[in-house]
């Protein structure tokens, strides 16, 4: 019984991931390439500065995959598998919640759950730690950054769960509309507290010591020892486009899951009834047939 839902959840997740990939390949890849070009240009400027100062130039690791593999196949596989995994988590949540609230219509429940997933798994963590293109992010802080990001995701998902429980509890007391608004307030207050307590990436101690007091790891202009700027800071327009398209592609994924799974779940929900009724009709039509013959 559950497997029919699970297959469909995984299927729409995969489809959503593929659609998000098509969008990413067309719209985001040019900006990812811009970011990589910025990074190589900056590395060159940095090694020129190092050479002038008499430092030994750092060596770059060999490329495991070419840019064309990364930007065509790698991102496609990555986003498809991500969609599959999100579809899996979504369908598990759907099956748990739909058993608890069997009166909610499947497509409505699918939309509500997908909205909750998009906001808590992606949008809220993004608000604190937004997606960064290549060239942004210091290698030595990857451990701290990953831990902080996962913490933000976990807090946001737990806050969403608590807000929904609070909303259900309040619904019987102040009505569904007011309970939903209050649940939203509960969620915002909880995630706001977490955002206030967690440090910005730029304020990690190793970053502060090496780069100064900046909130993010976005590269600042590169300065020669005499203070003249030899390479600009990271281009703001590239950063905006990358992040904006990141949000859009997640919206594509979650909308595909919401609408696709909703439609499939509606059909599944009426399927046994339809089969039972056709069986009854068949029984009714086949039963009298022997009578005239006999």
């Amino acid at each position: 019984m559950e497997f029919r839902y699970i297959y469909r959840g995984l299927g729409v997740g995969l489809l959503g991931g593929l659609l998000a990939f098509v969008f990413a390949r067309i719209f985001a890849e040019p900006f990812i390439q811009d970011a990589i070009d910025y990074e190589s240009g900056r590395d060159e400027a940095q090694s020129a500065l190092d050479a002038a100062a008499g430092h030994h130039a750092g060596h770059e690791g060999a490329e495991l995959f070419s840019r064309s593999v990364q930007s065509n196949v790698g991102i496609g596989v990555g986003m498809a598998v991500f969609g599959l995994a999100i579809g899996g988590l979504f369908v598990v949540a759907y099956l748990i919640v739909s058993r608890r609230y069997p009166d909610v219509r499947p497509r409505v429940l699918a939309c509500l759950l997908a909205a909750a997933g998009f906001v808590s798994l992606y949008l809220v963590p993004f608000a604190k730690y937004p997606a960064n293109p290549p060239a942004i992010g210091h290698e030595e802080t990857i451990g701290a950054r990953s831990a902080l990001y996962v913490t933000m995701v976990a807090v946001s998902v737990i806050a969403m769960g608590l807000a929904i429980v609070a909303g259900r509890w309040l619904a019987g007391r102040v009505g569904t509309w007011n309970a939903s608004l209050l649940a939203g307030v509960v969620f915002l207050v909880l995630v706001a507290i977490a955002m206030g307590l967690l440090p910005a990436f730029g304020h990690l101690s190793s970053n502060k010591a090496e780069y100064g007091d900046f909130a993010t790891e976005t590269p600042q202009p590169l300065q020669a020892p005499d203070g003249r700027i030899v390479y600009p800071g990271f281009p703001a327009d590239v950063l905006f486009k990358f992040r904006f398209y990141s949000v859009i592609s997640q919206l594509i994924l979650w909308s595909t899951i919401a609408l696709g799974f909703g439609a499939l779940a509606e059909r599944l929900a009426v399927a046994p009834a339809r089969r039972a009724s056709t069986a009854r009709v068949e029984a009714a039509t086949t039963e009298p047939t022997p009578t005239p013959a006999g």
Binding site: G9, V77, L84, G87, V92, G137, R145, Y149
Partner: protein, 70 residues
């Protein structure tokens, strides 16, 4: 004499529940495992030592999906 009857009763009730739970639990677990490989492995933590093939292959997706990356 009555004990075996009681046992079969319990089993008939709990088995479908366990199958459902196993299906849901396994789906959730495998999904989280996939998310880990797409988002985190061979960055902050690594299951296959210092190899970076997965990281480099899904590199663009990792950045674009919002995960922290080198």
């Amino acid at each position: 004499m009555t004990t075996p009857v009681a046992q079969t009763d319990t089993r008939s009730i709990t088995l479908p529940l366990t199958a459902r739970r196993a299906a849901l639990g396994l789906t959730a677990l495998l999904s989280l495992l996939l998310l880990y490989f797409i988002g985190v492995d061979q960055g902050a933590t690594s299951l296959f030592g210092s190899d970076t093939h997965i990281h480099e292959f899904v590199h663009d997706a990792r950045h674009f999906l919002g995960f922290p990356c080198h």
